[in-house]
Symmetry: C2
Subunit: 338 residues, 2 copies
């Protein structure tokens, strides 16, 4: 009991994990994000957000692209907070854009900075792979509780996580064939080890929409980011009950997200949407599970921030098919970059 409490006291918070900000210090990752259609979606939303005369806080402003867009959309004042060294780049761009003063770049962690006023709107591109990876939403909600005026608005305003089962017979067959004849050597005994390895860590890849075998299940819907609780984004437990469109082998589950930036304008990273730099998160099963057409796939998804590094997540997916057979449980570490 005492040990447990002591472990809790020692668990690092997202504020303390400094290596995280270093990963955003170089321009390479910002270039990738700027080239992603997520930037266009944000800029369009900012233009239609009615920012004229408003005060805005941009949490994690990066190179400053969204903060500048807010200023150009008529904001009275934009506080652009950035903890990593790229803040100096944002400052240079703001200056080159003739917006110094209107856009104030503040280098620091948003949990620690002091603003001279509360703001009307908080803009932030905080989403990680499968929405919650990186746990940046924690910081955004803490900033909201300190700096958003009552009745103020959040951009994005709503966030959803989706999960769907997928098939991948082609890759599985190719793997099997590969290990069965490695330059004339039968290494089939390694195939299960390779598969177990694949099933340990989620893979961040693009999945073809045609490989999804049922409708997706919404496993989290934060309906109003302006009023939700911090605890809503620190753990997750959801059931799903889906029906397979086809007879297939279930090879895993694909996770993705969608956010509503302003009313009616969604940015979706689903397999049937245009690709983004987030790609999809593939939770591979150790063993494929045969499913019949119209058979039900039921299960639970549990996600908790990892004790060692709360920017990473421990994910458990338990699932089975209604036709019977035992329920399977797979554990994953959502630890893509840390």
């Amino acid at each position: 009991m005492v040990d447990n409490q002591s472990a809790k006291r020692k668990a690092p918070s997202v504020e303390a994990s400094d290596g995280y900000f270093e990963s955003y210090a170089g321009l390479g990752i910002h270039e990738e994000m700027l080239r992603c259609r997520r930037t266009d979606a944000y800029l369009q939303a900012i233009r239609s957000a009615g920012l004229a005369g408003k005060t805005v806080l941009d949490v994690g402003c990066g190179t400053g692209v969204l903060a500048i867009a807010c200023a150009r959309a008529g904001a009275r004042k934009v506080y652009a907070v950035e903890a990593s060294a790229v803040a100096e780049c944002a400052r240079a761009v703001v200056s080159a854009s003739g917006l110094t003063g209107l856009v104030e770049v503040i280098r620091g962690k948003v949990e620690e900075v002091e603003l001279p006023e509360r703001v009307d709107v908080i803009v932030s591109e905080w989403m990680g792979c499968f929405l919650l990876y990186e746990s940046m939403l924690d910081s955004v909600l803490r900033a909201r509780d300190r700096w958003l005026k009552p009745g103020g608005s959040m951009l994005p305003r709503r966030a959803q996580m989706w999960l769907a089962p997928f098939r991948d017979e082609e890759a599985a067959e190719e793997q099997k064939a590969f290990w069965a004849d490695v330059h004339g050597i039968d290494m089939s005994c390694l195939a299960p080890i390779a598969r177990a390895e694949l099933a340990r860590r989620p893979e961040v890849e693009l999945l073809l929409a045609q490989n999804v075998i049922s409708s997706p299940s919404c496993v989290l819907d934060i309906g109003d980011l302006a009023s939700c609780d911090l605890s809503d984004c620190q753990s997750l437990c959801a059931s799903f009950d889906l029906s397979s469109h086809v007879r297939a082998e279930l090879h895993g589950f694909v996770g993705y997200f969608a956010v509503e930036l302003v009313p009616g304008q969604w940015l979706s990273t689903a397999p049937d949407a245009e690709p983004t730099h987030w790609r999809h998160v593939l939770f591979h099963c150790e063993l494929p599970l045969p499913v019949q057409q119209d058979e039900r796939i039921r299960g639970r998804l549990t996600m908790t921030q990892a004790t060692q590094n709360p920017r990473c997540w421990d994910v458990v997916i338990s699932f089975g098919v209604s036709g019977g057979g035992e329920e399977r449980t797979q554990r994953y570490e959502l630890d893509v970059r840390c």
Copy 2:
């Protein structure tokens, strides 16, 4: 002086860097290597190496593919040493191949293992990016000094490092255009920062052969791996004097290697050879240097194992053109995975 000696004493050796072996514990990286044409080249060399009745040591056997090939080529006994957990996979494959006894998989660092006898041949696939990255050659030469019979042979037997200047106007123009208009914002002030970032770390990528602007320079030729000194592979200082085939902007230098596996059979990773999993190492310049056709490009390459982690390398390239202008010096950290 005292400080210097003390620093030397404290400098970690390649034997002590354990995270290195963990990076080879999963099957993913072995699959990539097995799929690379380097495996075919080795297997062909092993078949023509005259191994009948010989004893062989495979340093870093991975999944055991080369050790098994040696046994199939008639070796009397193969000691397959592997420090990472993939040794257990090698053991399983050797057993499934019915070669237990003939191929003995030994899990351990080659510097620490004990063999019952000296061997006739040492086989090892020890090459890293730009040959020396990972510094695995250190371990191979230490194994040679302990376990190779006088007059025994090494596979590969010879190793060369090559350097050549390249142009990349297209990418440079694209970068310039990108930063000049990022969704309507002029971020040109960031272009030099992005370029400096690119010039800090070598990039491991495939370079098109058509972008190479002169003949390459051989910056290291270890003519006989059976007799070279360990110090030959722990630092490097070479001059180059090349002549540009074209009028172009020099954007950097490409580094690659070639090894002679058995007499007359080379495995080259040059830009004009078939791609390998090593790709090429691109040392980008911070500023492009205009060169005229037939103008000489002269300089020096210095490489030393990094103090903090001798599997990484500090690289300095100084260069200039004969037409005049000042000499430039660029420093790089060859630190691709550590």
